[in-house]
Amino acid sequence: MSTFWRSHRYWIAPTLFIMPGALLFGVVIILASVETIWISFFDWDGVGAKQWVGLANYAQLLDDSQFYVSLKNNLIWLAMFMLAPPLGLALALLLNQPIRGMRVVKSLFFVPLVLASVTVGVVFTWVYDPTFGLLSLIFSSFGSTAPALLSDEHLVTFAVVVAALWPQVAFCLVLFLAGLNNLSEDLIGAGRVDGARGWPMLIHVILPQLREVSFIALAVTVIGALRSFDMVAVMTSGGPFGSSTVLAYQMYEQSIFSYRFGYGAAITTVLFVIMAVFIAWYLRTLLRPEREGI
């Protein structure tokens, strides 16, 4: 027994440790994904019998004007979310000063990260409210009336993204703050000896050291933008008339409210493919230095 263990433990122990995670990942992620793709070939109401329809759901998707609205909104989300890492970095640099009371200020900036996104959504809905919202108070103090952001089909997505950006910026801020704490004092000292200050210091000494953190911030932001759902659900329910719907919300709406699980699965599959592109890029970037390291 003990010789068996000794000669095999190099693989038994890691296998045992990985097993629970792998099992969970296999069932919850892999199996569920495969099943979703499978369902997308059926006409199914979620309760009754499934009926094979082949690619009909996808063909319908191409004819669905709502699908293009959702796709466009996902792109708006993606583009606007790209503001989060630079804003987070800027704030982190600003807050990373040894000034008395800075801790309090820092924790104030962390607040949105602690709040559930539903809370953030509700708060921003109030801010945007055209009758009693903060925004309308600000506008009326200048003698004009605030636009009803959540009722305007062209502005609504931007308004929702701004609300979602708030916690996202805070998240990037935390990442960068942590990264700034891990900077190598030696390199900074060496830079200082060579006369680097201000911008050159930031661009040539600090930022290269933050490369990995930036990468994580970017990847998390991209994924956050693509899987946006909760904010849309809380603030607008995809409205007015579907103009703020994103793919994830459309999937939910079609499956849950319209009882079209097959169609919802097809939308999910499209979203999955889009995400897969980013995930592939993420994994590639992630694994490359590891392989080089070996």
Partner: protein
């Protein structure tokens, strides 16, 4: 590697394994200790979708009284009203309670067709419900069998404040012309003529129902609901033309898509709006001491001589097919459905009792609805209760869009027609 970094970055210290073990052990111990050790011999579970606190209280009271009488323990699980609409489809299949709340008519039929609701015709027979229910029994009947008990009926129409109307010398509009002129008067008084919040989309569909019933009548309306009539049919155009006229006259709340019905009802309560289209539950939007100011008026006539058809929505209560205690569930329903219990339950939402032997209501809103129903010649339920849920979703969205952008009428109807063809395979 990067994920390792992220942990290090965020925590900056590896979590102590011992601490983790202690924590996990405590959690496990807590779970085993917390599990109930004694199994109940007889238990009845009810899933309720009631949002109103006082109605929940009444249900709890009835359940306690039943517990005392029968010795069966009753557990009520309250769910959020909107969340329940989605949850019911999974719990009817796996983990069904013994009794659940739902909506009669087409929405019930969807589950009956999938064999998820139990046939309770035997209970109907035993308690002789048919003789006391009258037409309400039809709403829970499919192919001559009954699959639920009808609860309160909601009669939809216009609501206004008595004190405001008395002060301004207004009378509830009886025709479109009067509605428009009342709108002008309300606007010059600085009020919104008709409070309408369409964030949840359905309020706009109620307005559509009224217009269509007043212009095209019940048969055509039901044909449309059943997918037998086209949305691009020429008879639909006058409905939307008239509606657009009202919208362009500024009759409805501006930016209506920004807020829900509760905020719209609050505007009526705060005298910022003159009228609102809803049912008796409008009183939830009013402070308790002002609820006696609410008055009901039927939707005005549009086509002269058209018989009066209204939206009259009936909620219902059911026994799921997969319930474990079907016998006790029937017993409880019989107890719950006694005239006294039922009317106490319905009083809180100002709903019209389905039984004709319930004691007369003290609620003026209920009595107004009962009185008004006497001249109603036929009723639909409500757009999203009468038509296919998939169709309803597109329809509600379309009506919401129409109220914001009436000039898109043709595109919207075109889209609804495409959806109708897909769903009803026409």
């Amino acid at each position: 590697m990067a994920s390792n970094d992220i942990i290090k970055l965020v925590t900056r210290a590896p979590a102590s394994r011992r601490q983790f073990l202690i924590g996990a052990g405590t959690a496990l111990a807590g779970m085993t200790l917390g599990a109930p050790a004694i199994a109940q011999s007889k238990e009845l579970t009810i899933i309720s979708n009631i949002g109103n606190a006082s109605q929940r209280e009444v249900l709890q009271r009835i359940a306690s009284a039943y517990e005392k009488e029968s010795g069966v323990k009753v557990a009520i699980n309250n769910m959020d009203h909107e969340a329940h609409k989605t949850a019911i489809r999974s719990y009817l299949v796996v983990g069904a309670p013994d009794i659940c709340f739902w909506f009669s008519g087409n929405r019930m039929k969807a589950f009956v067709k999938r064999e998820l609701f139990d046939d309770i015709s035997d209970l109907f027979e035993r308690e002789n419900y048919k003789s006391v229910l009258g037409p309400a029994a039809g709403a829970v009947t499919v192919d001559g069998r009954q699959y639920g008990l009808p609860l309160g009926g909601l009669l939809w129409g216009l609501f206004y404040r008595k004190d405001v109307f008395a002060e301004k010398g207004w009378t509830p509009p009886k025709t479109m012309q009067q509605l428009l002129s009342l709108g002008e008067q309300a606007k010059s008084a600085g009020m919104i003529p008709v409070s309408m919040g369409t964030k949840e989309m359905w309020p706009a569909a109620g307005w559509f129902d009224h217009m269509n019933l007043r212009i095209n009548g019940l048969d055509k309306h039901m044909a449309l609901m059943d997918g037998k009539m086209s949305y691009t049919d020429p008879t639909m155009l006058p409905v939307f033309d008239k509606w657009a006229e009202l919208i362009n006259a500024g009759l409805f709340s501006p930016n209506g898509t920004s807020f829900g019905w509760e905020q719209a009802a609050a505007a009526l309560a705060q005298k910022k709006a003159a009228m609102m289209d809803l049912a008796g539950f409008i009183k939830y939007g009013f402070p308790q001491d002002q609820q006696d100011q609410i008055a009901f008026a039927p939707f005005p006539e549009i086509v002269q001589g058209m018989a009066r058809y209204e939206d009259f929505a009936l909620n219902s209560i059911h026994v799921p097919k997969n319930a474990k205690n079907k016998e006790n569930a029937r017993d409880f329903l019989a107890f719950f459905y006694k005239p006294d219990n039922l009317s106490a339950f319905l009083e809180t939402e100002s709903a019209v009792p389905p039984r004709n032997d319930c004691p007369p209501s003290k609620d003026p809103l209920v009595n107004a609805a009962v009185e008004s129903l006497k001249t109603v010649e036929g009723s639909a339920q409500y757009y999203d209760r009468d038509t296919d849920p998939d169709m309803a979703q597109e329809g509600l969205k379309g009506f919401q869009e129409f109220m914001a952008k009436p000039d898109r009428r043709d595109q919207i109807l075109e889209r609804l027609e495409t959806t109708r063809k897909r769903i009803f395979k026409a």
